[in-house]
């Protein structure tokens, strides 16, 4: 049974770390996506104003 506790510890840590990294990556991705679309729309407005 002792062997299984080490297996559970290893699998638990690995998959928790991967899931946390994936969520952090997705959140950074969404933040950048929102910032970029805000910048694009601001640029479009300023170009319209010029014309």
């Amino acid at each position: 049974m002792e062997g299984w506790s080490f297996v559970a510890l290893a699998y638990g840590i690995v998959w928790t770390v991967i899931v946390v990294y994936l969520f952090s990556l997705k959140s950074r991705y969404k933040k950048a996506q929102m910032e970029l679309s805000a910048l694009r729309s601001a640029q479009a407005i300023s170009q319209n104003d010029k014309t």
Binding site: F6, A10, V17, Q33
Partner: protein, 234 residues
């Protein structure tokens, strides 16, 4: 440039394939595969350990390629590839060290040993953590990319050392399980243990490419944001 629909769909398919492969790998590694005759259940950690380090090696190979290409052509996409792959490589290297440490406690009786392979892997982690820190410490983007590219290339030289360390020095770490010269993997590992190992290698590589595609796109968007800001400030 906006991400196209087919690209997003392809990434979705890659993510789904990775998820399926991970589920199959977990089932096979934890339930179907028999325990090892000598190590018992603890050997199941190998189904994480080997795929993690292979994913890390592949990530650093991409850092190496991206860095060489960036220094040669000065194209942003190469630098973004190197930066993205380095971040994911650090993740997989850290996981490899953690898994190895957990496996080492019941097998060797210690969490850590200053063995050549373990130490060189820890150095690899430090080099690429330094790579990521270097990028964030230099304000000038082009200088940061160039300095990081040089470190990315030098750091890659540690990988052949890690691989050969078990032959060159008397180490506690066992020789390679599947990448042995003049020996096929099935000559070294019995099929019931090799099948889950191969499934998990495929799963980790699919996961690597899924994470890399997301991280690469994030890098592209950050570059675009920087260019917008630069244009606005002029």
């Amino acid at each position: 440039m906006p991400v196209t629909q087919p690209l997003r769909r392809r990434r979705g398919i890659l993510g789904a394939l990775a998820l399926i492969a991970i589920a199959v790998g977990l089932y096979w590694g934890l339930i179907v595969a028999p325990p090892d005759a000598y190590q018992g259940e603890v050997q199941r950690i190998m189904y994480l350990h080997l795929p993690s380090i292979l994913a890390a090696y592949l990530s650093y190979f991409l850092v190496f390629i991206g860095s060489c290409m960036y220094l040669w052509k000065r194209e942003r996409r190469d630098d973004i590839l190197a930066h993205s792959a380095a971040e994911i490589g650090v993740l997989f290297t850290a996981l490899t060290i953690i898994e190895g440490s957990i496996w080492g406690r019941p097998t060797w009786g210690v969490w850590w040993a200053w063995d050549a392979r373990l130490t060189l892997t820890a150095i690899l982690l430090l080099i690429y953590t330094g790579y990521l820190m270097l990028r964030s410490l230099i304000d000038d983007e082009n200088r940061a990319s160039s300095a990081a590219a040089v470190l990315g290339i030098i750091g890659f030289l540690d990988i052949p050392l890690i691989h050969m360390s078990v032959y060159w020095w008397r180490t506690l770490h066992q020789p390679p399980s599947i990448l042995q010269p003049n020996k096929a993997p099935w000559e070294n590992i019995a099929w019931p243990l090799l099948i889950p190992l191969l499934i998990n290698i495929v799963a980790f590589l699919l996961l690597l490419f899924y994470l890399l595609s997301l991280r690469y796109r994030l890098g592209e968007m950050r570059d675009e944001i920087r260019m917008h800001r630069l244009e606005h400030s002029l």
